[in-house]
């Protein structure tokens, strides 16, 4: 690590050319030229929108009487937030994605871990083919994957349905009021298992082989090596994949939005994100939508950050 110290007066906002020669001093120049392009855009497209969403969420447009006069925009404090939390359908949407996340994320990650361990195991054959096969769905964007699966779910068209029927399993409704959430979960699992597997597999590959050899010499079975040696060492990878999955789950949008076209059981408030989108673009209520976006962002931040804290306390001793 660089050990050079800096004079604090030099950092105070003076825009410095990045290519400035610094032979004359032992100070490292402030790399404003390297940082500025990113930081300016980061401010424009991350910080300002967040601030603006918070700002917008504190206002509401109000009419009076029959509403024939133009509406006025009023400061309403936190009342949009109390509306958001007072809207049963929004709360139901949150509960739905939480249920989804509690079931889908562990299932997917367990599946991904199992596949990574199997591919990494000495007994596996054709590992290159399997890796490619499992990873392939990740190359398909969520919305297209959802369109693709919607063909496979459609009662009239579904080859899965016709295969099940011909095997006398009876007809399965993928789009029913109790099944459609899990049909969405299946799409997400299909898309991201291979990706998560690859992260975990990368973690496994980075472990020094000598560790396993030592365990093998000690007579440990492959199963023991996998669960006792390998698994604990890929915990950081699992933490990363969990955080990304949590963020993804709370943002759930394209899959239900696509399936809405064919299922009568996905309401316009099915997920918090659908609610916010609908509020802004169908119901013309950008202030309430902004409050929903803020709630969603804070919720995501708390959950993912909280998860990181929780796991770091367990696995990383400082």
């Amino acid at each position: 690590m660089t050990a050079t110290t800096e004079a604090s007066s030099d950092t105070a906002g003076s825009a410095r050319a990045p290519a400035r020669r610094s032979r004359r001093s032992r100070r490292t120049p402030v790399p404003i030229g390297f940082l500025a392009p990113f930081l300016v855009l980061f401010a424009l497209f991350f910080l300002i929108p967040i601030g603006y969403a918070v700002y917008e969420s504190l206002f509401a447009t109000k009419v009076s009487g029959l509403g024939l006069a133009p509406p006025v925009t009023k400061f309403v404090g936190l009342s949009n937030y109390s509306s958001v939390f007072g809207t049963a359908s929004f709360i139901q949407g949150i509960e739905r994605v939480l249920l989804f996340g509690i079931v889908q994320v562990p299932v997917m990650l367990a599946f991904a871990t199992l596949l990574a361990l199997l591919i990494d195991s000495v007994a596996a054959r054709f590992t290159r083919f399997f890796r490619l096969a499992f990873f392939l769905p990740y190359g398909i964007p969520g919305v297209i994957a959802a369109i693709l699966w919607s063909f496979l779910y459609l009662p009239n068209l579904s080859p899965i349905d016709s295969v099940l029927k011909s095997l006398h399993f009876g007809s399965v409704s993928f789009l029913g009021s109790h099944t459609v959430l899990w049909s969405i979960a299946n799409i997400v699992t299909w898309e991201y298992t291979g990706y998560n597997m690859l992260i975990i597999f990368a973690g496994l590959q980075a472990i020094p082989r000598e560790l396993f050899e030592a365990a093998r010499v000690d007579g440990a079975s492959e199963w023991k090596i996998a669960t006792r040696v390998k698994l604990p060492l890929v915990v950081p990878s699992l933490v990363l994949t969990s955080v990304f999955s949590i963020i993804g789950t709370l943002q759930l949008f394209s899959e239900p939005q696509v399936l809405r076209a064919i299922s009568t059981n996905i309401v316009s408030t099915y997920t918090p994100n659908l609610s916010a989108y609908n509020e802004a673009f169908t119901l013309n209520n950008p202030n309430l939508a902004a409050a929903m976006a803020v709630v969603l962002a804070i919720g995501t931040f708390i959950l993912s950050f909280g998860f990181l804290r929780l796991t770091s306390r367990r696995s990383i001793t400082r």
């Binding site: 604090s8 790399p31 991350f46």
Partner: protein
């Protein structure tokens, strides 16, 4: 935030190269047959939709509904292809080109910006460095869809919605890219090298572009791939921003067709073949670049 900072990246090994296992030459044992069989079953799950897509691409709308889903019927692939590229003008081709613009140019610029910022955060000590890094990392945890709504409201104030810029500009900001670049730069670019370049009179910018970027190139490929997928996957932003279909990326275009089947019965075949045509080059690219995924992911996960 502390656990995300790179206080210990100095000890991070550069990503391991793919390793050839010497164990794979044993004769098959019972467990290896079992494991392999299990993985074959699993790969059917992952490949079946792709197989269905390939088969269905060759069917016209009538055959799509009325033939067995998993086997070929009347072969209409060429008809579907020519229909796909001529429907409603050459709109499909345009969507593909738009996607190349958004994802290709967007991720290229994002890589450059992230590399510069990550490099600066890794190789220069200045006041506020950790604060800046912390804020950027916080950005990783902010859901993109929560940003899209206020971004839309802001852009409509300056009449930028429904333009290429409205999708392209937000796409070139990648906090995760900065994170990866910083992690990689701090271990792959030796301070001595930068110092030596300084002594030789090389400007900071020249050092970055000629020496450091080259050393960081594996990470840059990873950042590029990550951002490419992120943009190509981002459905919400174009959905919110764009109303002119000539500006759509292919994802939004296919989505809009998927909701317009009534306009023309053959549209359902175009959605199927359009899906196939749009994902094939990407799948090929992804699979062939898998090595970079793994190395980048290893670098990212191990340092968390």
């Amino acid at each position: 935030m502390t656990l995300l900072t790179d206080s210990d990246v100095g000890t991070t090994p550069p990503p391991a190269p793919p390793r050839k296992s010497p164990d794979r030459h044993h004769p098959p044992t019972r467990s290896s047959i079992l494991i392999t069989a299990f993985m074959f079953v699993v790969s059917i799950y992952f490949l079946l939709p792709a197989y269905w897509l390939a088969v269905s691409s060759t069917k016209g709308p009538t055959a799509l509904y009325n033939s067995a889903g998993l086997w070929f019927a009347h072969f209409d692939l060429w008809k579907n292809l020519s229909g796909l590229f001529s429907y409603s003008g050459d709109i499909y081709l345009r969507w593909i080109l738009n996607t190349v613009l958004y994802a290709g140019v967007g991720s290229l610029l994002a890589t450059l910006l992230s590399a510069a910022a990550g490099y600066a955060l890794a190789k220069y000590k200045f006041r506020g460095r950790e604060l800046i890094f912390g804020v950027i990392l916080g950005g990783v945890l902010v859901p993109g869809t929560a940003l899209a709504l206020p971004l839309y409201l802001l852009m409509s104030k300056v009449s930028l919605t429904n333009s290429y810029w409205s999708v392209l500009l937000p796409s070139i900001v990648s906090p995760f890219g900065v994170y990866l670049a910083r992690v990689y730069a701090s271990s792959a670019v030796p301070d001595e090298l930068i110092e030596a370049a300084r002594v030789d009179g090389s400007g900071e910018g020249r050092t970055f572009f000629t020496i450091s970027m080259r050393l960081m190139s594996p990470a840059l490929v990873t950042i590029f791939l990550f951002q490419f997928v992120a943009i190509w996957n981002n459905f919400f932003l174009p959905l919110v921003m764009l109303s002119n279909e000539k500006l759509y990326p292919v994802t939004l275009g296919l989505y809009s067709w998927n909701n317009e089947y009534g306009q023309a019965p053959q549209l359902v075949s175009y959605v199927v073949i359009g899906t196939a045509v749009s994902v094939i080059p990407l799948i090929v690219a992804f699979l062939s670049l898998q090595r970079f995924w793994r190395s980048g992911l290893a670098a990212g996960s191990l340092t968390l």
